[in-house]
């Protein structure tokens, strides 16, 4: 998972099991304090300081990620495993990625002819949907929702993450997927986990293109390459859980990594219609750009 070996007290059906050697991250149930001593930043429900992150979700539980290697879960009575997994795989892993000095991008990614293509953007803009559309064309998914980038000798590489895509019910209807094996992400949410059609990408892949998705009310799809300050800003805005960066004390490292990524990738701004009906058309447009 993102290149990490994980030992967990909760079961993640998503992870590849079995590894040798020491774990990088342990996940266990335990007490999570209500107040974080010496917190440098607080939002609604979260508190942070360097190497520490606490998330409090009323009705579900408290989560703490520390030192890039431990996650504690303090679940409320009655919270089910799906509820917990959502916050561990999301915010807690995001915080861990920041603490470990990676650059986690808020993006789903696919392996397109040996290159990592990132689909980034705010919630509900269609990151997973586009990854799915590429998967249907035969290009394997690398990560869903968070693509963690490691820099090794100046070169950023995306490490394979959660091998399932999460898609909304209306998208599944639209793309007429044949996946039978779907599982609801959470009770009461019309969003489903899908297993990969293709084998899991085993090796890190070098990112070359980032598509930043926006929904628009217009009927037409527009895709424009962006450059300069705007390009840097767009990458920075789409860092996963960007609000955590300052509080965790990693803003300088993060800034440097964004600069490196900035040199390595082309960035495009995509405006797509709100309706789900043009998803496949959009994937074709993007593929044309990639083949150009």
């Amino acid at each position: 998972m993102n290149g990490w070996n994980v030992i967990s007290e909760i079961e993640f059906l998503t992870l590849q099991t079995g590894f040798e050697g020491k774990p990088d991250i342990t996940i266990e149930f335990g007490n999570v304090p209500e107040e974080l001593d010496g917190a440098v930043a607080k939002g609604v429900g979260f508190q942070i300081k360097p190497n520490h992150y606490i998330l409090n979700i009323d009705g579900t539980g408290r989560f703490m990620a520390i030192n890039g290697n431990q996650i504690f879960i303090d679940a409320v009575n009655g919270a089910n495993e799906e509820d917990i997994v959502v916050y561990v795989l999301g915010s807690a892993f995001g915080a861990i990625a920041h603490q470990r000095g990676l650059l986690p991008m808020h993006a789903s990614s696919v392996n397109y002819k040996g290159k990592a293509i990132l689909f980034s953007g705010a919630s509900g803009t269609g990151k997973s949907t586009l990854a799915k559309a590429f998967e249907m064309k035969g290009y394997p998914v690398i990560c869903d929702d968070m693509s963690a980038i490691y820099f090794d000798n100046q070169v950023g590489m995306v490490h394979p993450g959660d091998p399932r895509l999460k898609l909304w019910g209306d998208v599944l209807t639209e793309i007429k997927t044949e996946d039978k094996d779907r599982r609801r992400v959470r009770d009461g949410l019309e969003k489903f986990f899908l297993n990969h059609l293709h084998q899991i990408v085993p090796e890190p892949v070098r990112p070359t293109n980032v598509f930043i998705l926006h929904k628009s009310n217009e009927v037409e799809i527009t895709i424009d390459e962006i450059r300069g300050k705007e390009k840097f800003h767009a990458l920075r805005t789409n860092v996963y859980r960007a609000r955590l960066v300052n509080g965790l004390g990693v803003s300088k490292a993060s800034f440097n990594q964004i600069e490196k990524l900035n040199k390595q990738v082309k960035v495009y701004r995509v405006y797509r219609p709100t309706t789900t009906s043009k998803v496949l058309a959009l994937a074709n447009e993007i593929q044309k750009i990639l083949d150009n």
Partner: protein, 279 residues
């Protein structure tokens, strides 16, 4: 803490027009404020607001979790704007106060403006906005359990808002007693904008802006708003609808509603329509 000025209404009742007027009154520029950059752009139902203050993905949160977060987010927002105050647009009815705790709480509220419009005209405009037939719209406007933006199958960038029926919505707001509320009727604003703006400015304690009145009316005119939409789009238009700014006229219901639909609206809302002078 008490820094929020609510810009409240049932949907399609002139909230955007009100926001455009206030924006252009406050603005110091000689050109119209962009429709995508009006005061009250902060919408109490927008998930981005939650994302901003909670710092996590909203798309995998349950409606219950989101609803519980809303009052806390508004509290943060109110604290952040303690000095300058902040306009927040809202479509929820105040009934939500009982159901959800304290969404529209006097603790975060400076005051509020409620704009209302003849429900017969609302039905026409709201149906178009939703992409629904008018019959369905009329029925929902009488539905005490009507919730806006609750998708069955996909992602919606808004948190579901408890509107209740049009009558209940109006009564829940105009009976506000825990903070000062100014009530504006869409039809009065159409008929005599100068007068209505004077009252509004006085309520908001912004009398010094009265010299901007004529300019603000011009910059917020229906044609101006519609032109801006046609040039650059408007980010809160529903994709089911061709245009957000449709006609802006009062009384279109006379041409657009069937006698049955008119009877339904009147049957459902007679008491409040009489009370508000729509009879």
């Amino acid at each position: 803490m008490k820094s929020i000025t609510w810009l409240a209404s049932y949907p399609k009742s002139g909230n955007t027009w009100l926001r455009a007027l206030i924006s252009n009154l406050i603005s110091e520029n000689d050109e119209p404020v962009s429709i995508n950059n009006l005061v009250g752009n902060i919408d109490a139902s927008n998930k981005k607001l939650i994302e901003k203050y909670v710092g996590l993905e909203v798309s995998e949160m349950t409606e219950e979790e989101l609803q519980k977060l809303r009052p806390k987010v508004l509290q943060f927002l109110a604290e952040e704007n303690e000095d300058g105050g902040v306009y927040v647009k809202i479509h929820d009815s105040r009934l939500i106060r009982e159901r959800m705790g304290s969404l529209i709480s006097p603790n975060v509220t400076k005051n509020g403006v409620y704009i209302l419009r003849n429900p017969l005209d609302v039905a026409v405009s709201f149906a178009d906005h939703q992409g629904w037939g008018i019959d369905k719209m009329v029925e929902e406007m009488g539905n005490e359990d009507f919730v806006l933006d609750r998708p069955n199958t996909g992602f919606n960038n808004r948190i579901p808002q408890h509107l209740a029926s049009w009558s209940t919505h109006v009564m829940s707001w105009i009976n506000t007693s825990d903070f000062n509320l100014h009530i504006v009727k869409y039809e009065d604003l159409t008929r005599n904008p100068t007068n209505e703006i004077a009252k509004l400015l006085s309520f908001l304690d912004l009398n010094h802006l009265s010299s901007r009145t004529e300019l603000a009316i011009k910059f917020s005119s229906f044609n101006q708003l519609a032109e801006q939409e046609s040039m650059g789009g408007f980010n809160i238009r529903n994709h089911h609808s061709e245009k957000f700014f449709r006609s802006g006229k009062s009384g279109v219901w006379k041409q657009e509603l069937t006698p049955n639909q008119i009877d339904s609206v009147r049957g459902d809302h007679e008491e409040v329509m009489r009370l508000m002078g729509y009879w």
